[in-house]
Amino acid sequence: MALQVLVVDDSGVMRSMVTKAVKMCGLDIAEIHKAKNGLEALELMRHEAIDLLLIDINMPLMNGEEVVTEMRKIVELADTAVVVISSEGSAARVHRLQDLDASFIKKPFNPSQLREILDSLIDDRDKVETVHDTADSSLSF
């Protein structure tokens, strides 16, 4: 299934850089949406079914961690795959993001490093979906 991707960063240069890296990963991408802050991202995700969110930490209005925390409270967004991108990668921050079921990648990164993270993230989601599908089909019998 082709992925709907959302890239969130207050820097236009970084939005383009992450978009370029995602395109170079070789994943099956349907569309790459962009937002320049957390509020805009949440608003967009209310109308578009996003499979994968790539989000910066340090942004005005609402930072990346706050966006993910908010998403996890919304049923429709609770299972969305998230990769947080930052140039600051302290263990405390990474642990907090893991608690939010989000992956983390530290800048600088190249497309193959991003692909590795996306593969494991998407594999995990597929496994969860398979379990849900099996449960659904057993219910339908």
Binding site: S86, G89, S90, A91, A92
Partner: protein, 151 residues
Amino acid sequence: MTQQTQASVSDVIAEAVERSFSDTAFMTAVPGEDLSPDEVAWTSSCVEFSGPLKGRMTLRLSSSLLPELAANIMGEDDLPSVEDQIDALGEMVNIICGVILPGINEGDDVYRIDSPHTPPTASAESKHNFEMNFAVDEGYAQLILAVDEGL
């Protein structure tokens, strides 16, 4: 500051600049002590940082390389705007700074790195200064790390 500290900080700077240019802009940055890019027209971007180390980091790049740097970072075939070119240099110094600071202290410390800006022409004196030149494609880069506190 001991010679060993000086050498290890230089190693951290070299590795951070090489990797950041390669991964982010697909450009090769090679450190060289014998480089003397005195006649180069530079474009500069600077970030202030605080935490266990406090100071500022400036990245200077041959102005002729700026369009290529921005286009490579952004993945665009067309020439990025001048504003995007300056922003791209700012993002680069931000990324490099995020690698160098934890590399120097090797702890799990948290640093605050402020938004990149164009540095004033006359830079303030600092307690410790590191300067390293790099050959980048057909031009040069220069990384200047000024540490006021923490070393």
